[in-house]
């Protein structure tokens, strides 16, 4: 059953099925061939199954994404892997000035079905240049989509949607989510539903209370921080605090604001959490949009949680202080409730 898959298994099986279903899908990246199968093993088995369409590349992130752009312009559906999300800066020109520009600046006369997959996030002690969540730097780039599954999304389905899309997508995979099992259905304590089931990249809602009640607080979060939610929802349920977590899977452009604003207004108290730096981040844009939409219905200012604005230390105890945790999110929730 699909809900039994880990995030990694879901992504791997999506790549397999996408390549089996469509021979224009080609996969590129560093060290992705079997037996190694990629630094995080998402591509494991692919080069054995599709030896002519899986390419291991030299270390050249700019050219990896640039080549993918050329393939996409010529009718292929490239999926490029960047080994660590931190390396995406080396491909920024290809993403911002090529992938996101070609269809628009040629007045819609070309499509650019590109997916750049890359793992982001810390918590593994890799230090300043192998732990960041840089997706916010690509949020707000016109005509570029940024998608990030949580453990409450079917990651493979999102990846298939990204591959099927005719525009460029940066697909963020959080390293700590890879081994976690996806949770796609309600449990005894957590109600799981999808706000917009028809959307290409749906938004999941989790509640630790029954339908019909209003939430005390709304947490809007994405990607890696979703790993804190099973515990957080249960802890707050024990305290009789009704929490609803709203988890968009597309970070940029933001999904339609009305359902998010309705969820925010339902509780009147909002916390936004992301693993990346909060300053000038995804949450900053989201908060601004919520203020524009429903400021009068908020009981208190929105609180944003993210990494502290500094480099991510390698030493575990120092790294823990910099990155958001279950505790920092819990404290923010208690703050908006007080």
């Amino acid at each position: 059953m699909s809900q039994q898959l880990t995030n990694l298994e879901s992504l791997r099986s999506a790549l397999q099925s996408a390549m089996a279903d469509d021979e224009t899908v080609v996969v590129f990246g560093e060290d992705i061939l079997d037996p190694y199968g990629g630094a995080f093993k998402v591509t494991k088995g692919l080069s054995t199954a599709f030896p002519n369409r899986v390419f291991t590349t030299p270390i050249c992130e700019g050219a990896i994404v640039g080549m993918a752009n050329g393939l996409a312009l010529r009718g292929m559906r490239p999926v490029a892997e960047l080994m660590f999300g931190d390396f995406i800066t080396l491909a920024a020109d290809q993403l911002i000035n090529h992938a996101a520009k070609f269809p628009a600046m040629y007045n819609g006369r070309v499509t650019l079905p590109l997916v750049v997959r890359t793992p982001m996030g810390g918590g593994r002690g890799y230090g300043p240049t192998h732990s960041q969540s840089l997706e916010r730097m690509f949020c707000g780039v016109p005509h570029l989509s940024v998608v990030a599954p949580t453990i409450f999304h079917d990651a493979g389905k999102l990846l298939r949607a990204a591959i099927a899309s005719d525009g460029p997508v940066v697909f963020i995979e959080n390293k700590l989510l890879y081994p976690l099992r996806q949770q796609l259905h309600s449990t005894a304590t957590i109600q799981h539903d999808v706000l917009d089931p028809e959307a290409e990249y749906p938004t999941v809602r989790l509640r630790n209370f029954g339908a019909g009640d209003s939430a005390d607080v709304t947490l809007i979060a994405n990607g890696g921080v979703s790993r804190f939610l099973p515990s957080l929802l249960e802890r707050l349920a024990d305290e009789e605090i009704r929490l609803q977590a709203v988890l968009p899977s597309v970070l940029s452009p933001l999904p339609p604001i009305a359902p998010l604003a309705a969820a925010a207004a339902d509780s009147g108290r909002v916390v936004i959490a992301e693993e990346g730096i909060a300053t000038n981040g995804w949450g900053a844009e989201l908060a601004a949009r919520l203020y524009e939409s429903c400021m009068g219905r908020l009981a208190c200012p929105i609180v944003r949680i993210g990494a502290m604005p500094t480099v991510i230390p390698a030493a575990k105890h120092l790294e823990d202080e910099i990155l958001p945790s279950e505790t920092t999110i819990l404290n923010a929730i208690l703050k908006v409730l007080s």
């Binding site: 640039g66 393939l71 070609f102």
Partner: protein, 311 residues
């Protein structure tokens, strides 16, 4: 070689006239752009290839424009016109009028027609072109890809990343270096160590060298390079030594009068003119002039493009 046939004299003459007409069309279209700019009718900027038209014409005519692919850069009018000859579409593009090839969004540096793609970022098109070459190789279309680079662009790492992969994977791509010896205002000697023409050799890519002064010889060299790329399904590097007679864009030429006079002597259009029958030359000149005048009149009479209905 295509010229070594019994009636090579006739073929050479036909080719010379054909090339002359195309080069003149490019030259006069760009001169028209500069004039329209001076009149305040053309907004923004244009990077002309005045003096380098022969490179565009020789290279593009060596390709199979029905299926081959071209990537070009900020100085792309010549490549565009040699490829599709759409003077009206290009004029409309730089003037923001109806009928523009890219809806007035792309302007002079960001053009697309058929299998031609241009972008204004130096070097960024090199990996895109390499990817296009891989796509065509995977599709077994038989198409090759040509990417036009300038000497200034040889400072970009993306170019060498692309050459490495193109050679490693044996992709059918022709890297064309239009070496005019100057990047915007900085002479080549102040930007590059070593010899640019040897850059591809270390990747095992065969290098061809020619001069833009003689368009027919340049064409012959390009035919050989294109033949290698297509038949062997491998990359090649074509170095075209050329001469930028005009400024980088407009009014930004800091070269001395002596330098300019020297490059003036290397004008391929004037050189080719000497090889064309005077009567024929006059006919071509009249026809090109009429074509451009009519296009300008037509396009200036069209309405400006509206953003209505666009996201």
């Amino acid at each position: 070689m295509m010229i070594a046939s019994p009636n090579s004299f006739t073929i050479t003459h036909q080719l010379a006239e054909h090339f002359y007409a195309q080069m003149l069309l490019i030259r006069q279209t760009e001169q028209q752009f500069l004039e329209l700019f001076a009149q305040g009718k053309l907004n923004g900027t244009v990077h002309t290839c005045i003096g380098q038209e022969s490179s565009a014409v020789a290279v593009v005519n060596a390709m199979d424009t029905q299926r081959d692919i071209i990537f070009s850069n900020h100085r792309a009018h010549g490549h565009f016109l040699a490829y599709c000859g759409d003077v009206e579409g290009l004029l409309a593009e730089v003037l923001g009028r109806e009928g523009a090839v890219c809806g007035g969004i792309g302007g002079t540096q960001h053009l697309h027609a058929g299998n031609l793609y241009t972008n204004g970022i130096q070097g960024g098109i090199a990996p895109c072109a390499t990817g296009a070459a891989l796509a065509e190789k995977m599709k077994r279309s038989g198409a090759i890809t040509t990417v036009f680079l300038g000497d200034g662009t040889m400072g970009q790492g993306a170019v060498y990343e692309s050459m490495n992969i193109a050679a490693l994977w044996q992709l059918p791509i022709l890297f064309v270096l239009e070496d005019n010896g100057i990047a915007q205002s900085t002479p080549k000697q102040q930007e590059h160590a070593g010899d640019l023409s040897t850059r591809a050799q270390t990747f095992g890519i065969q290098t061809f060298t020619a001069d833009s002064f003689d368009v027919l010889a340049l064409h012959q060299t390009t035919v050989a390079a294109v033949g290698l790329v297509r038949q062997q399904q491998c990359p090649a590097f074509l170095v075209v030594n050329c001469y930028r007679l005009g400024p980088h864009s407009k009014g930004d030429d800091t070269r001395s009068p002596e330098e300019l006079a020297a490059v003036e002597q290397r004008d391929p259009l004037r050189q080719l003119e000497l090889q064309i029958d005077p009567e024929q030359r006059q006919l071509i000149q009249q026809s090109v002039q009429q074509r451009i005048q009519a296009a300008v009149q037509d396009v200036l009479g069209r309405p400006f493009i509206s953003r209505e209905g666009k996201e």
